[in-house]
Symmetry: D2
Subunit: 297 residues, 4 copies
């Protein structure tokens, strides 16, 4: 019999993942604070619960991918009291990007109720969530990871076991440090190229083939030169992640001199009012400093 899955939170990421779980044949119940967001998934065959407690009742696995640490804490420990609604033997998989300490807090609280827990944040955004091509990095007991793996497969291109609880969350922050770096370097490079009179499209052609190429340059670069900042991964979330990275690096007293500066650029872009645009809008903050725009010729 198909496993019963409760998916809580129908944001941009949750919707895509829940839909793929339905498609994969799981018995999926979803919940969202504002029910409308779940329509599409419900149309595919998911059940709609009115509360987290209702959603998780009888579920084998409970999953969520929320905006930030406070949303997670609010769901688990706050008014929604997910913790109180769970029963011994259930499994929780938190796919949000949060501080590893938040993962550990969840792990401990759940353990006290006999609930097993994985921190399993994802790389990729809207597109990969919808197509089931996320990259998932997982922390928790290895045998639990292996038990849950089949459920992660319809969601992901690859999954990676990183170690005990908190290690999935840690890997996510480590990876996002690189994402931020790639976006910022692309901005500096494309602006310098523009000022130098290079054709931005030709520059992207070079970035597409060399040994420093990266898929992110192709996607973001193409959108940039078309001045398309529609949101796959919101800049405000990238600021949140940059803040988490800074905090994590502070906790470990680990030097991140370039990332520290990159965070300041993201701050500036959010102060400009671009928080709801795509994360690549941080490049617009660099353009402000440069007095030019990168555009297709």
């Amino acid at each position: 019999m198909a496993k019963k899955i409760a998916y809580l939170g129908m944001g941009i990421m949750g919707r895509g993942m829940a839909a793929n779980l339905v498609d994969a044949g799981y018995d999926v119940t979803v919940w969202n604070r504002t029910p409308g967001h779940a329509d599409e998934v419900v149309a595919k065959g998911a059940k709609l619960a009115e509360t987290p407690a209702e959603a998780v009742k009888g579920a084998d696995i409970v999953m969520y991918c929320l905006a930030d640490d406070s949303a997670v804490l609010d769901l688990v420990f706050g008014d929604w009291d997910l913790l109180g609604a769970l029963e011994s033997g259930q499994i929780v998989v938190d796919m949000s990007t949060v501080h590893p300490d938040t993962s550990l807090l969840e792990a401990e609280a759940f353990a006290e109720r006999g609930v097993r827990f994985l921190d399993a944040p994802v790389f990729g955004s809207k597109g990969e969530a919808a197509s089931g091509n996320l990259w998932i990095v997982v922390g928790g007991p290895r045998e639990l990871y292996e038990e849950v793996l089949p459920v992660l497969e319809p969601l992901s291109e690859t999954t990676h076991y990183m170690g005990e609880n908190g290690k999935g969350a840690a890997m996510k922050l480590v990876g996002n440090l690189i994402v931020a770096s790639q976006l910022h370097a692309l901005g500096e490079a494309m602006i310098l190229a523009t000022k130098a009179g290079l054709n931005p499209r030709d520059v992207l052609g070079v970035l597409h083939v060399t040994d420093f190429k990266s898929p992110i340059f192709d996607g973001v670069g193409a959108a940039l030169i078309e001045r398309d900042f529609s949101t796959y991964f919101a800049l405000k979330h990238m600021l949140k992640d940059a803040n988490l990275i800074a905090q994590f690096a502070e906790d470990l007293n680990s030097p991140i001199p370039a990332t520290a500066v990159i965070r300041e650029t993201i701050k500036a872009a959010v102060n400009k009012g671009w928080g709801e645009e795509n994360a690549s809008a941080l490049i617009k903050a660099l353009e402000e400093q440069a007095g030019v725009q990168v555009k297709a010729e």
Copy 2:
């Protein structure tokens, strides 16, 4: 009849390229300040000249890939007086990484003698030079680019026409900004991961597949965790390039806040005495600041 090519300078890059030109059937004459470096290429069938003037006599195309601007200026305008040795109708292709103004200086001086000129620096290092898989970015008259293209093909995976003279040199600096960024981000990320108790090998596994992956992470990352800093592209050359990028960004008053900080890390690594090691040794400067080393477990 096969074109006659003079290749001046048998450094790590020049040797690889000259050998590939011999293999491709060109009639190649090489020259190096210290003759020993040319042995291998001569063994393949290249002729050895004792001076640049001797090497370029009768050549259709003259190529060189030197260490820095002053080496180029010294060859062209200094005691070696390449400029004086050339004759109207010859073609010069400078594959060195230099400031675009140096390219323009060459272009103008050559033009006055009826010599046509391309700035054509290359991405890739020792390995790609040897295997003929460089990525070449070219500035100069388009018809000259097209005329020379067949000669560049045995050297390269791709070649890119970037515009008038100086635009090849400019593209090289733009690209190297990204290379520096990636190496630095890899360092910050791997150190943070190490401090967080992640297995470096597992982290590289993640960096190998996500949409922020880059071939550079694979190659440099694998060497890093084995503590292998043997030289493909020397750190001292990366410092030179970082300095060129800073100068170019100064000329254009283009903001490069992260790259500016990254240059300081490279300075520190060179001050530590690692200038002859691979460019990835900049990560060791970050490790000094962190008090940890990234190592395979």
Copy 3:
């Protein structure tokens, strides 16, 4: 009749302030976790209490200047339960450097018990605490500030009313941003001067008179060139403050690009094991990057 003052915590700062309060004729009771630290103040005439509760019994004003936020939270809300020991009508003055939110937390908790509260952190270190020449920045109700002012006078060169609760704490962080900047700039400058072959003593002579002079350059500079890093204000506390500044700037999304980089230097110096030395030891981290030392000739 002289006001009764309880001074809690006999660290480097508390000892100096309590002694000055005794000298000014106040009836002072002190407490410290480890009693030995209070010997000198007790010898001057202060009473020694065994617990915070004992110390504050009957006190008009309760003061403390602790190492960090967690020490404050521990004293007020933790096992020491200062909050429970206080009575309506008493006044608390927190002179620690803490996040403004911690001050607000204290203010609210105290208010519920009828206890009035000032956040009143101090600029200056060991020397100024001992000589009663601190600069005190105060947040809280203005009339309470005026009421407490006479008690602050024996401790300070100047006191400054900054606004409601939390504003004293905020001003402290704003000021420490500048302190960090000056120490770092002094380091960069003295190292550059050393590499340029200037006599460090002559450089300090210039810094002593120009319009960018600052007392901090005189004091720290003189110690630096004698390689004297004995502790007035410990580097580990400066790291704590840099972390507080970063957090506060994050809360307000305020850009601090230079301070962000400076924090990374402080991290490196602490990772080198210099946390117990004077804050000026951050310059040693820059020296590591430079490969030179600044020394008197």
Copy 4:
């Protein structure tokens, strides 16, 4: 008999210094590319020459304080050919802020003609030049320094002998590193204070008294909160100086991580079009990033 002095270049700085030399009783001849700028000094009693050659004829000492290295090179070696106009036994004092290598170039060229040379750049701007309160830092032979000292006295509050030629220029760059740092820190601090709801005037009150106080905070701070960016020292010149500092630190491979970031802020402010405003306008670039303005309440 009073010494004859030729002062070349009647910019904001040269005018003030020439006037003070006239007032001190020297026989002063001035020259400026555009004669109008000299009117005030001529009215005081200076002679006006039509060319540098005319101005320096018979002068004991030749002085100039020009905008940048290229202006100096142009005067000395270019069309104006100061070098050719000088005679053995004359003394040249260059008060411009230039790269130490430019000073060395001048020193060598002059020495070949039997002309003695001091590099003697000045700290202070419009106001100090007018009132004769500059701080002068001098490189060159010590006996020449002592010989020229009486002439520098009417111009300066203090003069400082820094060592052989080039050391005055080096000290100037070292000092300007600190000036840039002070301005940037003031900007970060005042913006953070503004976002924190502190009264900017109260903050300046604190900065006026603590051990991190500096005259620069008083002057620039007061103007800042009145939104007064009228020019004492133009931002475009500060950018020039920041570029010189970066170049000098590159030459010596000396790490300046904070100053490197500060240079990027100055770039941004100049790109905004504020190059002709006061150097403090760099703070407006930080305000852009912050989305607030610092203003008197």
